[in-house]
């Protein structure tokens, strides 16, 4: 591959990314960083967990993203009585015109490109687990038969704060399958005024698709493959490995402030999936910066989003009000010092 072609591919990626971000930004007021993180996860091939109180635009972001990319999307409102088959689909007895009856699989809402799992922690753990196979292997198995999901498959789940009524804790295994976790904050006063002025008019802003509808899935898959082509040097991999290991109490044996806090507040640290998410996110960051290789800074940019939902905090942390993001930031400081 010639340098010119590679350079053009990077520019193409940057253009698509910027265009989608701009289109979503026309509808979603504020949350610029959250939108960029969600897009990063999307092109990295991961899924995103969004935590925020109801009414701040979680669903709007997913819908806008699907429209901008010209991909299909579905929305599942998770409730306490939602069953796994309601997500994956089920087999029904179907009678043919000839009168013959046969079991036919009816795909559930999971068979889409972009899936919004709204208030995912209101479902029971059993139903939540129905997403596990789909998120990890891009397939679902019903009655012993596996069905492939259409690429690209992207799950964007929203999460109400655990303190709210009628919520369940997400299993660690499921949390680990989300590439990033994004916290949506309340909009500022200026953003709130803009939301009022743009959403209460007769002609609210609409999304113009960035990609051609027929070619959109292939284009997105091509861009995702391009992300994986980004070069990662051994020293960056070593940095990522050290960073992830520092989040585990067993490995954090040093006397630095971060390691002491990890031993005190963290029960389980980030998994190898955390390291993978760091590298994949960093690759997207490198492309956005026009580089064919990953640097330390790329890793640092997405470290909090990639690791904070993977730390299982101890009771001492909850009692002390120590958030996982705080631990990750402390670990980052230590890791930066160790690398220099």
């Amino acid at each position: 591959m010639t340098p010119a072609v590679a350079s053009a591919a990077i520019e193409d990626f940057q253009q698509v990314f910027a265009a989608v971000r701009a289109e979503v930004g026309r509808v979603v007021i504020g949350h610029e960083n959250a939108i960029e993180t969600i897009l990063t996860a999307f092109f990295a091939g991961g899924h995103v967990l969004i935590e925020g109180v109801p009414g701040i635009g979680k669903t709007l972001i997913v819908r806008s993203l699907a429209e901008a990319l010209n991909l299909s999307s579905n929305r599942i409102q998770f409730t306490v009585d939602l069953m796994p088959a309601d997500i994956t689909g089920t087999r029904i007895i179907n009678e043919s015109p000839s009168g013959q009856r046969e079991l036919t699989f009816v795909p559930g809402p999971i068979f889409t490109h972009l899936l919004l799992g709204d208030e995912i922690n209101r479902a029971t753990p059993k139903t939540q687990s129905a997403l596990l196979e789909a998120m990890a292997e891009h397939q679902v198995t019903v009655a012993g038969t596996s069905y492939r999901l259409m690429p690209p498959f992207f799950v964007l789940a929203t999460l109400n704060p655990i303190e709210m009524e009628g919520t369940y804790q997400l299993p660690e295994a499921q949390l680990d399958r989300f590439l990033f976790k994004v916290l949506l904050a309340y909009p500022s006063e200026a953003e709130l005024i803009r939301i009022l002025s743009t959403t209460t008019t007769a002609d609210p802003p609409t999304i113009r698709p960035v990609l051609d509808p027929e070619q959109a899935p292939a284009r997105v898959e091509g861009l995702k493959r391009l992300v994986r082509e980004v070069l990662v040097a051994p020293h960056v991999e070593q940095y990522v490995a050290g960073l992830v290991r520092l989040t585990t109490p067993a490995a954090a044996r040093g006397d630095s402030e971060a390691e002491v806090e990890v031993r005190r507040y963290v029960t389980y640290g980030a998994s190898p999936r955390g390291a993978q998410s760091l590298v994949l996110g960093a690759k997207v960051m490198a492309l956005l910066d026009g580089r064919p290789h990953v640097t330390y800074d790329d890793v640092d940019k997405i470290a909090v989003a990639a690791l904070r939902h993977r730390l299982v905090m101890s009771f001492a942390a909850e009692a002390a009000g120590v958030a996982p993001a705080h631990i990750v930031e402390r670990v980052l400081v230590t890791a930066r010092r160790l690398r220099s």
Binding site: M1, P3, L231, A233, V236, R291
Partner: protein
């Protein structure tokens, strides 16, 4: 700059990295060397005046303190140089920290160690970018200066200052102190027993040399001449020899004759020494007549006076006043000895610092003419004094005089000159007042 190819890119990069390393490490070596020179010169500038003018103990303390500072500075310098030294493993990382390369260089080189050489979709682009960046991290750009100017300037300034101080010091040669006599105990050691107060007439001092009677006896004169103390003394001696040359040799000889190696002679005392040489006879006799033990000065000891003493060997003894003889006899009666020393103190004349004659002792003939013989008339021996002729063999006394300590004591060889001067049979040149 040649365009890089994916196959040879790493070799080109490695060659340039080596050039950068050479320049950087040479720079650091120079910096360490210049700072070491600057520190050494600065400390030498500090030590030089002390070596020339300070007492031996003060110089020894300052010298070892200075060596400690120098050692600490050397350690710091070593650690700093080691930290700045550009070893091969971290050379590329350092180059990237100095240039806006955004990790491209390191990525390319490290990926080359992978089984497939890191080849991929973006490898060619990375190689092209590294080739474009080669000009950005040439040795001259990464290490702009070949010479550490600040360190060099500091070293030169310190050396110039050292030379100036050395030149100024060479213009202030030491005085040549005359060797004389004193009633005070020698070597800065006050007598521990009341009996010693009576032996002051045997003491030998160098008036031109500062006395540290109270607090600072010279380590050379102490009885514990450690190796470290000797080393600092040798350094001080060498410095004085180098700076003052012949002038210091005269002083050293006088000090050796006096049996003391007190701190350097103070400038301006040369005149005092000459004056002593000119009026020594009168001073000597005046001192002898004093009952307070004031310093006595005797002609003939020291460079200036020795010739005249040799020409008139008998006059001093012949012209000794009865008054002096009475006083010495009284002391002899009280302390049982008018000779040299108490008879039990091997360091009667102070500890030897420099032993030009080698180790051991010398023999003082029993028949040597002694200054104490001037009091022979009052000692009850009744014998006539020996002949003034040094070659003559005087008749021995019928029996050895009691408590004649000088005949039994062991005296270090370094004091041979002094002892012979003290006990030489000579004639007092002037009349007693």
């Amino acid at each position: 700059m040649p365009e890089l190819t994916p196959t040879g890119a790493v070799d080109v990069v490695q060659r340039q990295v080596r050039r950068v390393r050479r320049r950087k490490n040479l720079y650091e070596l120079q910096r360490a060397l210049y700072w070491a020179i600057a520190a050494g010169a600065a400390l030498a500038t500090f030590l030089l005046p002390l070596a020339l003018f300070a007492p031996a103990r003060l110089f020894a303390g300052a010298a070892w303190g200075t060596f400690a500072v120098l050692a600490g500075f050397a350690l710091i310098l070593l650690a700093a140089t080691r930290r700045r030294w550009l070893a091969a493993p971290r050379a590329i990382a350092w180059i990237e920290s100095q240039s806006p390369l955004a990790g491209r260089l390191r990525t390319l080189v490290e990926l080359a160690t992978r089984p497939n050489g890191g080849r991929g979709f973006f490898h060619a682009l990375l190689v092209a970018q590294v080739g474009r960046d080669l000009e950005a991290w040439t040795p001259r750009r990464v290490v702009p200066r070949a010479v550490p100017r600040a360190a060099l300037a500091t070293a030169v300034a310190a050396l110039v200052l050292l030379v100036i101080v050395a030149q100024l010091a060479s213009f202030t040669p030491p005085s040549a102190p005359a060797v004389g006599f004193s009633d005070e105990p020698l070597a800065g050691e006050r007598s521990a027993t009341p009996d010693d107060a009576a032996v002051g007439a045997r003491a030998v001092v160098a008036p031109g040399v500062p006395r540290d009677d109270d607090a600072e006896p010279s380590p050379v004169r102490d009885d514990v001449p450690s190796r470290l103390g000797n080393l600092s003394s040798q350094i001080q001696e060498n410095v004085r020899q180098q700076v003052w040359g012949k002038a210091w040799e005269r002083v050293r000889d006088a000090l050796a004759r006096a049996g003391t190696n007190g701190g350097g002679a103070r400038p301006g005392q040369e005149a005092n020494g000459n004056e002593v040489a000119a009026n020594d006879t009168e001073d000597w006799e005046a001192a002898r007549s004093s009952a307070t033990g004031a310093p006595r000065r005797r002609p003939g000891i020291g460079k200036q006076a020795s010739k005249s003493d040799a020409a008139q060997p008998d006059q001093q003894q012949d012209q000794a006043t009865p008054h002096d003889a009475d006083r010495e006899t009284q002391r002899d009666d009280a302390n049982g000895g008018g000779g040299a020393g108490t008879g039990t103190d091997p360091n009667l004349f102070g500890g030897a610092s420099v032993d030009p004659a080698g180790s051991g002792s010398f023999e003082l003939a029993l028949a040597a003419r002694m200054r104490a013989d001037r009091t022979r008339g009052k000692r009850g021996t009744g014998a006539a004094g020996p002949s003034a002729d040094p070659d003559a063999q005087p008749a021995l006394a019928a029996e050895q005089r009691r408590e004649s300590a000088a005949h039994r004591m062991t005296v270090p060889a370094a004091y041979e000159t002094v002892v012979r001067e003290v006990f030489a049979h000579r004639r007092v040149e002037t009349e007693q007042p």
